[in-house]
C-alpha cells in the first residue's frame, strides 16, 4: 500500500544495482554466533588478574585436598619433642606449641574453611533463588508476606544471629553451616526478587505462558536462566564473606572446636602465642587473607565478564 502511494514499482529493475556474487559475499559480515557463556569466558580469559586469582584459589583447593598427604605427620597428634619449631625442612610451616605440624594443620583447616565458604554460599544462593523467584513472580499477598519477613530480619546482622545459633548448637561444621544459612539467604532472595520483577512482564514470559507453561516452569526454565550470570556473580562475591564469618566465629571461640581445625581457629591459637612465635599467627592469617583477596578479585573479574552492563563499575 505504501508502495502504491509512493508510486514506486518495486519490480522496476532499474531501481536495483546488480552486484557480483563475490562482492556480495564480501559484504556479509559473518561471525560464528557466540553463546552468552562462551562470550563471558572469552572476556574472563583476557582478564589476567582474575585468571591469577582463579589459579590461586585452585591451588589452595588442591593443597587442601592433597596437602595433608604430602608430609608423614598427622594434624592432631602431639609431639612434645618438637614444639614451637620455626618452619624447616621437616616441618614446612613449623610446629605449634603442642608439637603439631603446621603444614598438616593449615591444609586440614583449609579443607574446613574452604568447604564451609563454598557450601554456605551455595545453600544461601539456592534458598535465595527459590524464595526470591517465587516471591517476585507470584507477587501479591505471598510477596507481601515474604517481603515483610525479609524486611524484619534484614535489620539483624548475620554475625549476631550466627553467635546466638552457635551457642545453641554443638560446635562443628554442620552447626556453623546452619548458623550462617539461617538468615544468610536474605540478601540473595532480595536480589533475585528484584531481578525477577524486572523480567516477568517481558514478551518471552508472555510467550511461554501462551504456550501453556506453568508458573514453576516459567520461573525455573525461563526466568532463572536469564539471570544466571548475575546469580553466579553474586555467589562468587559472597564466598569471601562466608569464609570471613567462619574465621571470625572460630576466632572468638564459637566455631570449629579442637581436635577439628580451621583457618580461623588456627589464627585464634596463633594469637595466644604470637608475641613469642608470630609465624603461628601469620601463616593462617596469610592464607585467610590471600584466599579472600583472590576470591574478591576473581569475583570482580567474573562480574565484569558475566554482566557487561556493569563493566568498569565498582572497581
Amino acid at each position: 500500500m505504501v508502495n502504491k502511494m509512493l508510486e514506486i514499482d518495486l519490480n522496476d529493475i532499474s531501481l536495483y544495482e546488480n552486484i557480483a556474487r563475490d562482492e556480495k559475499d564480501l559484504n556479509i559480515v559473518v561471525r560464528p554466533s557466540l553463546s552468552y557463556w562462551k562470550d563471558a569466558w572469552i572476556r574472563l580469559s583476557k582478564n589476567k588478574v582474575a585468571l591469577i586469582s582463579l589459579g590461586v584459589i585452585l591451588l589452595y583447593i588442591i593443597l587442601a585436598v592433597a596437602g595433608p598427604y604430602m608430609t608423614p605427620y598427622d594434624f592432631k597428634s602431639n609431639n612434645p619433642d618438637a614444639t614451637d619449631l620455626l618452619p624447616n625442612a621437616q616441618h614446612w610451616f613449623g610446629t605449634d606449641s603442642l608439637g603439631r605440624d603446621m603444614w598438616e594443620r593449615i591444609w586440614m583447616g583449609g579443607r574446613v574453611s574452604l568447604m564451609i565458604g563454598f557450601v554456605v554460599t551455595t545453600i544461601n544462593t539456592f534458598i535465595g533463588v527459590v524464595i526470591g523467584g517465587i516471591s517476585g513472580y507470584f507477587g501479591g499477598k505471598l510477596d507481601m508476606f515474604i517481603m515483610r519477613i525479609i524486611d524484619v530480619l534484614y535489620g539483624i546482622p548475620t554475625i549476631i544471629v550466627a553467635i546466638l545459633v552457635m551457642m545453641l548448637l554443638n560446635s562443628g561444621i554442620a552447626s556453623l553451616i546452619i548458623a550462617m544459612v539461617i538468615i544468610g539467604w536474605i540478601g540473595s532472595a532480595r536480589f533475585v526478587r528484584g531481578q525477577i520483577l524486572q523480567l516477568k512482564n517481558l514478551e518471552f514470559v508472555l510467550a511461554a505462558k501462551t504456550l501453556g507453561a506453568g508458573s514453576i516452569r516459567i520461573i525455573a526454565m525461563h526466568l532463572i536462566p536469564n539471570i544466571m550470570g548475575l546469580i553466579i556473580t553474586n555467589l562468587a562475591m559472597a564466598i569471601p564473606n562466608a569464609i570471613f564469618t567462619e574465621a571470625f566465629l572460630s576466632y572468638i571461640g564459637l566455631g570449629i572446636q579442637p581436635p577439628q581445625t580451621s583457618w580461623g581457629q588456627l589464627a585464634r591459637i596463633g594469637a595466644t602465642v604470637f608475641r613469642a612465635y608470630p609465624y603461628q599467627l601469620f601463616i593462617p592469617a596469610f592464607f585467610i587473607s590471600t584466599t579472600m583477596l583472590a576470591l574478591n578479585l576473581f569475583g570482580d573479574g567474573l562480574r565484569d565478564a558475566l554482566d557487561p552492563r556493569l563493566r568498569g563499575r565498582n572497581k
Binding site: 530480619l153 535489620g155 546482622p157 553467635i163 545453641l168 572468638i252 579472600m292 583477596l293 570482580d300 572497581k315
Partner: protein, 306 residues
C-alpha cells in the same frame, strides 16, 4: 513522608521484637547452665534458679522479661554477681562508642577523600593506589589486621603502645584496624559514584557557566555523588560494631565487645541476652535513622514511599 517514616518505624519495632523473642527462646533452651562448675550443691542451685526466676513456666518468664525490658531492665549478670547488665553496659559502652565513633569518622573522612581522589585521577597512579588499597581492605579480616599492626608497630618498632585505652596514642592502632574495611568500602563506593556523576549534564553546565573547578567538584559532583554512601551507613555501622568484639579483645580495650565475647565463654546467659538486645536495638535504631535521612535527601523515596 509521614507514611514512610511510620512504615519504617513499624518494621524496626518488629525487628526488635523478633530479636528479643529469639534471644529469649534461645537462651532458655541452651544446654548447660551458668551454675555448673561452681561449688554448688543441688539445693543452692535450686535456690539460685528460683532467685533468678528460672523455675517459673516459660510464658511467665517471657512476660516478666518483656515487662522488665520496657522498664529498661536487662536483668542481672550471672557471672558478675549483683551487677546489673545495664550497669555493665553503662560502664563499658562509652569505650566501645569512643572506639566506634573514631573508627567511623576516620573511615568516612579517609574513604571519601580516597574515593574522590581516585575518581578525579581516573586511570592514573592515585586511582590504582586507591583500587588496590580498597581490595586489600575488604580482604584482610580486622582481627588479622589488628594483630599484624600490633606486632609491627607496637612489638617490633615500639612506636605505639601495645594495648589498653589510656590516651590518644593508644587509640591509633585499634581505630585503624577497625576502620580499614570501612575505609575500603567507602572508597570503592565513592569512586564509582563520582565517576557516574562526572559526566552528567549538570556538571558540564556548571563548567560552562565558568565556575572554578573547585566549585564544580565540591558543589556539583561531591554533593550528588555522596548519596549512595548514605545508604551503606547502616551496614557499615553493623560492621564496625561486630568488629569491636575482636579489636577490643586484641587491644585490651575495656569495652562492650570484650565483655560480650567473655560472656559467651562464661555462658553468662543474661549478660549475652541483655547485650544482644542492646546491640540489636542500637543497630535497628541506626538503620532507622539512615532510612529517614535517605528519605529526606532522595525525593524519589519520599514520593513512592518504598
Amino acid at each position: 513522608m509521614v507514611n514512610y517514616i511510620f512504615r519504617r518505624l513499624i518494621i524496626s519495632l518488629l525487628t526488635v521484637w523478633v530479636l528479643v523473642t529469639a534471644v529469649f527462646i534461645l537462651v532458655r533452651v541452651l544446654p548447660g547452665d551458668p551454675f555448673t562448675g561452681e561449688k554448688t550443691t543441688p539445693e543452692i542451685k535450686a535456690n539460685m534458679m528460683k532467685y533468678y526466676g528460672f523455675d517459673k513456666p516459660l510464658h511467665v518468664q517471657y512476660g516478666r522479661y518483656i515487662v522488665n525490658l520496657m522498664k529498661g531492665d536487662l536483668g542481672t549478670s550471672l557471672k558478675y554477681h549483683n551487677k546489673k547488665v545495664t550497669d555493665i553496659i553503662a560502664q563499658t559502652f562509652p569505650y566501645s562508642a569512643d572506639l566506634g565513633i573514631r573508627a567511623l569518622l576516620f573511615a568516612l573522612i579517609a574513604g571519601l577523600c580516597l574515593g574522590i581522589n581516585a575518581a578525579l585521577n581516573m586511570g592514573k597512579f592515585w586511582d590504582y593506589f586507591c583500587i588496590i588499597l580498597a581490595i586489600i581492605g575488604v580482604s584482610v579480616p580486622d582481627f588479622i589486621l589488628g594483630s599484624l599492626l600490633q606486632y609491627v608497630f607496637a612489638l617490633q618498632l615500639k612506636w605505639l603502645p601495645v594495648a589498653r585505652w589510656m590516651g590518644f596514642k593508644y587509640t591509633i592502632l585499634p581505630v585503624f584496624a577497625l576502620s580499614l574495611y570501612t575505609v575500603a568500602l567507602i572508597t570503592r563506593l565513592m569512586r564509582v559514584s563520582m565517576l557516574e556523576v562526572i559526566n552528567q549534564d549538570y556538571v558540564t553546565t556548571a563548567e560552562a557557566k565558568g565556575l572554578s573547578s573547585f566549585e564544580v567538584v565540591w558543589r556539583h559532583q561531591i554533593r550528588n555523588a555522596i548519596l549512595p554512601v548514605v545508604t551503606v551507613m547502616g551496614p557499615i555501622t553493623a560492621a564496625v560494631l561486630t568488629g569491636t568484639f575482636v579489636i577490643e579483645m586484641i587491644f585490651a580495650v575495656p569495652g562492650m565487645g570484650k565483655f560480650y565475647v567473655q560472656g559467651i565463654h562464661d555462658l553468662d546467659y543474661s549478660l549475652i541476652l541483655g547485650m544482644t538486645v542492646f546491640y540489636g536495638v542500637f543497630l535497628v535504631a541506626a538503620n532507622f535513622i539512615v532510612d529517614i535521612v535517605y528519605g529526606f535527601v532522595d525525593p524519589r523515596i519520599r514520593i513512592t514511599g518504598k
